[in-house]
């Protein structure tokens, strides 16, 4: 659906994107991660033919970009950084106007498509108020509706959850998953790891303009071969597990085991009361911080706290 090979973009002396080769397949929910300023937006703009690559090749839906952009762009819905609309017009008028602009729109179905897109993003009830009176969240929803008006095969969304409240974020996620299940490929960029973690099937990580990782999330999050056990009888558990316990922190144990069910049976057999038992997987935070190395603070406070907590948990290792 999207492939780039060795794409580089230089703005003057600054190399915003350095020799990036990404590959998004049909049916993916692909998340492009990276700190602010890592080149995500520049890459997205190059995919849409807004910014011209200094070198390298881009192909979207089988056509070269930017040369044949006009052939494929009608099949792509895009949200590029913030949504934008003419503030003195209503949301509906904005969608109709944008749909009427450029080729590839069927006038006969415009009314129905606009209504459908508004319905999908939860704005079915909007009245004739001008967009100027909209809240940030409503504007974001309208921006997504604009991306959906042409019933695209591919969605390219740059920071789609910006400005949304928790409810809006969940609505957005549900909508993207259901669109994806109906055959729409979703490519989104974000610096919010939990969002990508909850939504995407594959990820790419940009760091200072370079692609440092591209993998399916399921592969990245294989079990680590450890099980986290919480019990109010840790002494008896340690005795029963005989050397398998790698780390103990109060009632929480990290146990080396590739078979959680067998471990659970063993504990119950030894009369240990187990509160919780979970297969350990690497979090997206750990994965991303691992490959991006320095500059973890750029990922924001939430991640910092998460790392701090996990560093604390692993202190005994």
């Amino acid at each position: 659906m999207i492939t780039t090979s060795n794409v580089t973009k230089r703005f003057g002396h600054v190399e915003a994107v350095r020799s990036v080769s990404i590959d998004i397949r049909e049916g993916d929910r692909y998340g492009l991660l990276g700190p602010n300023g890592s080149g995500k937006t520049t890459l997205v703009r190059m995919l849409l033919g807004l910014v011209y690559a200094t070198s390298g090749e881009i192909s979207v839906l089988g056509e070269r970009i930017p040369r044949h952009a006009s052939r494929v762009l009608p099949e792509i819905g895009a949200l590029i950084e913030q949504p934008a609309a003419y503030p003195h017009l209503s949301g509906r008028a904005n969608l109709r106007l944008l749909d009427a602009a450029g080729p590839g729109s069927v006038r006969r179905t415009r009314h129905a498509r606009v209504d459908e897109a508004l319905e999908q993003v939860g704005l079915a009830g909007i009245d004739r108020r001008p967009v100027r009176a909209y809240s940030l969240g409503m504007r974001q929803r309208l921006g997504l509706a604009a991306a959906l008006v042409r019933r695209p095969r591919l969605l390219i969304l740059d920071e789609p959850t910006n400005g949304l409240d928790p409810r809006g974020i969940r609505d957005m996620r549900d909508l993207l998953i259901s669109l994806n299940e109906s055959g729409v490929t979703v490519f989104l960029s974000s610096h919010l790891l939990p969002e990508v973690s909850a939504l995407c099937t594959r990820i790419g990580v940009l760091d200072s303009g370079r692609l440092v990782l591209q993998e399916s999330l399921a592969d990245l999050q294989q079990p680590t071969g450890r099980v986290l056990v919480s019990t109010d009888d840790p002494e008896r558990a340690v005795a029963a597990l005989d050397g398998q316990v790698e780390h103990r922190d109060g009632q929480d144990l990290v146990v080396r085991s590739s078979d959680a069910a067998a471990l659970n049976a063993a504990l119950v057999g030894a009369g240990v009361r187990v509160h919780s038992l979970a297969v350990q997987r690497r979090s997206l935070e750990e994965i991303v911080l691992d490959v991006t190395g320095s500059g973890s603070d750029q990922f924001g406070l939430a991640v910092d706290l998460a790392t701090a907590a996990s560093a604390e948990g692993m202190a005994g290792e």
Binding site: R45, L48, A78
Partner: protein, 299 residues
């Protein structure tokens, strides 16, 4: 896309407010003159104003002379300067281009929208001032036309306002005017010619503003930049030391439309005016296109 741009033009309150303001100035002037019966003496004040008390039908020409130096170029610069820069600063430009609207197509649509605005403004002034002239100043009293269109300055010089001071000296240029009366049909033709000439002159302004609009994402910057170019041109036109470059300045022949009201029509400056504006339009539109078509859209 053209329909979309025209829809945007028509739906913007600013379009109508600026047209209304441009039409309001001549109306105010007409009311003052009608009430006081004090038209400027021949050779002083804005062109044609001295004659309008004799013939209200001549008021469209006087009205155009009133709005040409400042009001019209300001409005045109604002609309054309906003064309691309405005879309860039609201962020809608990237969505239009990703739709996709071809960059050349967008520029052409914007140009047509600007031309429409210029025509709208010029025609609105002509029509409202004709009505004003006939209703407030009274119809023709069989006066000779062009007896004394005086004070032929082009002035967007600061402080000159609607009554610019003499630039092209009255006495020198006016004596060739005959006193032959014009029929209403004749007058209508000449007004049409003047409207066409002024529209083309304004397109020169529009082309400069449109070019600047593709460079910056600040509408205000593009509008003020093109006005600054006009002010500079005005200053040079009035400067004897700059005689060598004067024939190539955009505002040099701005007032040549007045020659439509001479008997016979004095074509030389009119033709030169059309030619120089055509050059400005072509050069700046080409520059605008070259810049916009190859530009990274990062706004």
């Amino acid at each position: 896309m053209i329909a979309v741009e025209l829809f945007k033009l028509v739906r913007r309150p600013r379009t109508w407010i600026s047209v209304a303001l441009i039409c309001a100035l001549p109306l105010i002037v007409a009311i003052f003159i009608a009430v006081t019966h004090l038209a400027p003496p021949p050779g002083a004040g804005s062109a044609f104003l001295s004659a309008v008390l004799d013939d209200g039908q001549l008021y469209p020409a006087a009205a155009l002379a009133l709005v040409l130096p400042v009001f019209l170029p300001v409005a045109v610069a604002v609309v054309a300067g906003e064309a691309i820069a405005g879309e860039a600063s609201t962020g809608t430009l990237r969505y239009l281009l990703a739709r996709p609207v071809g960059r050349t197509r967008l520029l052409v649509a914007k140009l047509i929208s600007v031309i429409t605005f210029v025509l709208l403004a010029v025609v609105a002034v002509t029509v409202t001032s004709y009505a004003t002239g006939v209703l407030i100043l009274g119809p023709s009293r069989a006066a000779a036309v062009g007896t004394a269109p005086g004070g032929l300055s082009g002035g967007i010089a600061p402080g000159a306002g609607g009554a610019p001071t003499a630039g092209l000296q009255a006495g020198a240029a006016i004596t060739s005017l005959s006193g032959a009366p014009l029929t209403t049909l004749d007058l209508a033709e000449r007004v049409l010619g003047a409207v066409a000439f002024i529209t083309v002159s304004m397109l020169g302004v529009a082309a400069i503003a449109l070019f600047l609009s593709t460079i910056t994402s600040s509408s205000l910057g593009a509008a003020l930049g093109s006005l600054a170019a006009l002010v500079a041109s005005e200053i040079l036109v009035a400067l004897n030391a700059a005689t060598a470059v004067q024939p190539y300045l955009p505002t040099r022949y701005w007032l040549a439309w007045i020659d439509f009201f001479r008997q016979p029509i004095f074509w030389r400056d009119i033709q030169r005016g059309f030619a120089i504006q055509a050059v400005y339009v072509v050069v700046f539109l080409a520059a605008a296109w070259a810049n916009f078509a190859t530009k990274d859209i990062t706004t």
